[in-house]
Symmetry: C2
Subunit: 300 residues, 2 copies
């Protein structure tokens, strides 16, 4: 399972029961939280995302609608007795803001919060199951996009064939890495006879908040699913540029140019109660576009 | 109109669609906000409390469930173009926490936020319409209760009688203060002939978070309406004391001893999904008790 669940799809001021930015990306047993606007902990409960599975949180930038819900989530995790380390990736000033608030409450979290300051385009997490990159986007203050890439082993094991060949289970991981097996009597079992080629891993890119910049297409090239902010419609494109935001059309241009499989739009301005036109404008450029709707999970 | 609207009635962790502490007290044209847990700005919208009428905010203490929604409300007020001064009364460390978050966002509020640090029992606001006191309560960290007292003029004007006596409207305020009127020909109009005695002003006291202390009854003596925290039921009274909280019964004992007219209970622990027993336990001691229910306005 690799899926994006939208917890908040609105920009600055909450409106029409739309909440500030937050997303939960589920990749097998992990949940990655991307941004954490006010009310995120309630939205996690509402949409039944298990907070105990969140081990990584990424904050794009320090405008309040992207992180004011974080301190509440962190302290609630503490009250609920979390013990596992939690990794937080964010612009540097957030560490002190959190610490001040914990100090004011005379609170010590029962788990270790590992703070990682974002500073430049980089691979910020790398395990055998996934890798995560951040890249600079173009906003009024320092702001980062993120890419979560699923890692697949080279080969898919055909378990029945391996057992038929008397290969011990302890060797299965090596088979997935493409190695042959040599039996005690010296017979070689060719890897291709017990495995199949694997499909490539999928990838999710988050680009918000940002004004339109063609160079973003390079960063998110060929990802499976792209979330790109679309705060405004075309008629307000001047305002979009003034405020370092994008229009639906501009988001679609990035998606098209990057050759992604699917685009999801979000971070809608409270100016708009109805959102249909975002879809109409984007689909003229890039047809496989959807609106980020709260509570909906978009599968990769 | 003097009324208490509950925006959040739950303790630490939001649960069962109950929110962390926040209350809007409406006194004629003013709205006073007492505490501001996460999600308060959404609750204000949900229950149609006009944030433009909020000129005073009071924060009892710096546990997150009492103030994590404040920074979001302050910045939203800015985005909505507020220009009027806003008075914020809270423990001292909050000023720096707010400033750090505004700096991190490179945000300058378009209105003046006047921060007043709470330090001791005192009258913290005093106008011709109302006065506000704070008093120390007994919690794990520095914590204050508040009393909002409506001020009434000495006398109620009988407008028709005053007009009959040819008293100019410019003199009406003096009549309300109890003065006689002397006509141009020297005739004295006795105050009692054009006014009636006024009823005393009403008062609302907020006591949370606190453990049970008989001395609180002295502080809130004779108020019209008392909100007292009741985090636990009697069976968990040991836990209540350990955590510097009160039970429903203890809140009722304070109400009875203080001789208040009505008691409202809130700050319920997430341990309890159903709240009926809070009412049962409190009413055995003090019958005029209600539960603080979100969205409900309790008139004084």
């Amino acid at each position: 399972m690799f899926g994006l669940t939208i917890l908040g799809n609105n920009s600055a001021i909450p409106a029409y029961d739309r909440h500030p930015t937050s997303q939960a990306v589920t990749l097998n047993e992990q949940v990655f939280l991307l941004d954490c606007g006010e009310g995120t902990q309630m939205q996690l409960t509402r949409y039944k995302v298990r907070r105990s599975r969140i081990n990584y949180i990424f904050i794009s930038h320090l405008h309040g609608d992207h992180y004011f819900g974080l301190i509440g989530l962190l302290t609630s995790m503490g009250l609920l007795g979390r013990e596992n380390d939690l990794h937080l990736f964010a612009p540097a000033p957030l560490e002190h803001i959190i610490q001040l608030q914990l100090n004011a409450a005379d609170t010590k979290l029962p788990y270790t919060l590992r703070f990682h300051a974002l500073t430049e385009d980089a691979i910020i997490a790398d395990t055998d199951k996934f890798s995560i990159e951040c890249f600079k986007v173009f906003h009024r203050i320092e702001c980062y996009g993120f890419i979560i890439r699923e890692k697949k082993r080279l080969r898919k094991l055909d378990r029945n064939k391996a057992i038929e060949q008397d290969i011990p289970a302890s060797y299965f991981e090596k088979l997935k890495d493409g190695e042959d097996y040599i039996k005690p009597d010296g017979t070689v079992v060719k890897n291709e006879s017990v495995t199949n080629p694997n499909v490539p891993g999928k990838s999710y890119a988050f680009a918000a908040d940002t004004m339109y910049k063609e160079s973003i297409a390079e960063k998110v090239k060929d990802v499976t699913l792209l979330y790109h902010e679309a705060t405004y419609l075309k008629i307000h494109s001047e305002r979009a540029t003034d405020r370092f935001h994008s229009t639906a059309e501009q988001a679609a241009m990035i998606a098209k140019s990057a050759g992604v499989q699917k685009l999801v739009l979000g971070h809608f301005s409270s100016k708009y109660e109805k959102l249909d036109e975002f879809l109409t404008e984007a689909r003229e450029i890039f047809s496989n576009t959807d609106l980020a709707l709260e509570g909906v999970t978009y599968l990769l």
